[in-house]
């Protein structure tokens, strides 16, 4: 694991992203302390996915700064070595298990490829580490040697998690990583993620629209609406006693035993195409 000398493992200050006229992310700041997990909550158009992409370097911020493990990453990596070092700091698991793995590669091969990228280990050592990672995510050897199309959604996500962990990141971004899974599988994967965190000390940045999942896995939450932060704080506090109107509306919309849908506002005609 990369050495940290106190201070947050991830810090973003004043993040901004514009796509032409559209301001997708407007002055968003967040901080993740070592071994803590933060959730970024919002619906479509909130900018949460854009923020995740900016943190891992798939999008370039229009303004603001991001640093991980003490190294600035506000600008794209200059060299391949730089990109690899960044991969060692922050990794990501995507939402769709059906497209986040190369369909022609077995789980074992995918993990091995990552190990090769980050370490100059001999074959034997790589094989051992691969087996460890496969075991860590609760898969067996046969599954790791299968092609993705032979695996279920939950199994594929486990492979994706193992592949991300192969880089030994300090921060793992979970971009709606359990949203596409069946309820019973989602529970298994959430438990798995909690186990992994206990064992490796990794910090999660959970991007999600699902408040119940957020409660289960994170310590702090940042609520986004149309690119801006509307509320932040300890997860249990924000969810039990939301201060902002939007957060309240979000919480009131989550189905739970005894829940009944009510019109948030009196049924009023929607005028603009952009809103829902």
């Amino acid at each position: 694991m990369t050495e940290i000398n106190g201070g947050p493992v991830l810090e973003a200050v004043g993040l901004r992203k514009e796509f032409g006229d559209l301001i997708a992310v407007d002055d968003v700041s967040l901080r993740v302390q070592p071994a803590r997990s933060v959730a970024i909550v919002g619906e479509s158009g909130s900018g949460k996915t854009t923020i995740a992409r900016m943190i891992v370097g798939l999008e370039r911020p229009t303004g603001g700064t991001i640093s991980a493990c003490g190294h600035d990453r506000s600008r794209p990596a200059r060299s391949l070595r730089d990109r690899r070092r960044r991969g060692h700091e922050v990794q990501i698991v995507f939402q769709d298990p059906y497209t986040s793995l190369d369909p022609r590669q077995t789980g074992e091969a995918a993990i091995d490829e990552v190990l090769r990228l980050h370490h100059g280990w001999p074959d034997q050592r790589r094989r051992e580490r691969t087996a460890e990672l496969i075991d860590l995510v609760g898969l067996d050897e046969r599954q790791s040697r299968s092609l993705p199309r032979m695996l279920s959604g939950g199994q594929r996500q486990r492979v994706a998690i193992a592949r991300a962990l192969a880089a030994e990141p300090r921060i793992l971004i979970l971009d709606e990583s359990v949203a596409a899974l069946d309820v019973s599988i989602q529970a298994q994967v959430l438990n798995l993620l909690a186990d992994i965190r206990d064992e490796t000390g990794v910090s999660y940045v959970l991007i999600s629209h699902d408040l119940a999942v957020v409660r289960q896995l994170t310590d702090e939450v940042v609520v986004l609406h149309r690119g801006r932060v509307v509320e932040r704080g300890p997860t249990s506090q924000v969810l039990d006693d939301p201060q902002d109107d939007y957060t309240r509306r979000l919480r009131a919309s989550v189905p739970r035993p005894g829940w009944k849908p009510v019109h948030a506002v009196p049924a009023r005609p929607q005028q603009e195409a952009g809103s829902q």
Binding site: E43, S44, S152, G153, G154, Q155, D182, V183, S184, I185, Q186, A187, Q188, L190, N191, A194, H209, D210, L211, A212, V213, R215, Q216, T235, S236, L239, D240, R249, L250, R251, A252, S253, V254, P255, R256, P257, G258, W259, K260, P261, V262, H263, A264, A267, R268, P269, Q270, Q271, A273, G274, S275, Q276
Partner: protein, 347 residues
Amino acid sequence: MNEPAAVSATAAAAPAGVAAPLLEIDGLNVRLIVRGALRPVLREVSLTIRPGEALGLVGESGSGKSMTARAIDRLLPRGAEVEGSIRYDGHDVAALSGTGLRRYRNQVAMIFQDPRAHVNPVRRIGDFMTEALRTNLGVPAAEANRRALEMLGQVGIGGGARRLRQHPHELSGGMLQRVTIAAALLTEPRLLLADEPTTALDVTTQAEVMAILDDLRREFGLAMLFITHDLELAAAICDRTAVMYAGQIVEVRSSALLHDDPLHPYTAALAAARPDISRTTARLLAITGRPLSAFEAPSAECAFAPRCGHARDACRAALPELVELDGGLSRCVRVREIRGRLGTPDD
């Protein structure tokens, strides 16, 4: 201990003295060609929906819930083998053709998960909404447009005639789904088949659309089959909820009682596996293994037994029948024994 005799699901679900069922599915078995061989996807599915009643159908992947809706709407893929009967208003749906089939499709309206996949992107909203009225029911264009506008108002979409001239891509997902609901209601159906209509929507939009669906359904007195993977969502607007696993119905229960007094371990496990928004727990009660499809599940024992904390030898001896209990139905042979503690595993 005497086991209650297996009762026909249809008789059990309809108390005496109530209106005849609008939709009656009896012993539906469907086989499809999967990977070169004919395999079961629905096994002995029996359901009843009375006029004006909303029934939720809940299940995970492979449970057969979508397939059931498709069977009702006669949208099964080619090569499907169907046994058992589906009766709408007393008529055998499989025997319908021509005008009879068109009338059936007017009376049974379907709403899909992804509206964009089921709406022609090059046609205008107005065209799409009024098509059934104009072609099947012979309503003149001006009148059809008027009704369409009125219905759009009912689902909370304003904008007048301009709205009718828009194309689907100009509307957000939530708005487009409201449009499809409005379009479905225009032909004055008596039964709505809603196949995961809110799964692809944001949670606040989902709440809005659910409220609209609930209000309008009651206002027009429609029956509804609401398909979802979310137990609480189904319970929110449906009078009764049916739970499916591996192509079979494993429980039917009044929604109010479903959460606190379920009649099948799978239902209890499903509810317990879901994280709670009001409490933080160290770990969730996850079910081991993964949900099976009908063609993967063993045919001569309880399909859920391998994952069930209450499984006993009796569960593996034979395929359990659907039995009546307290106004609900259960496919668990041990239900009477373990009632009240289905959520907690035995040992």
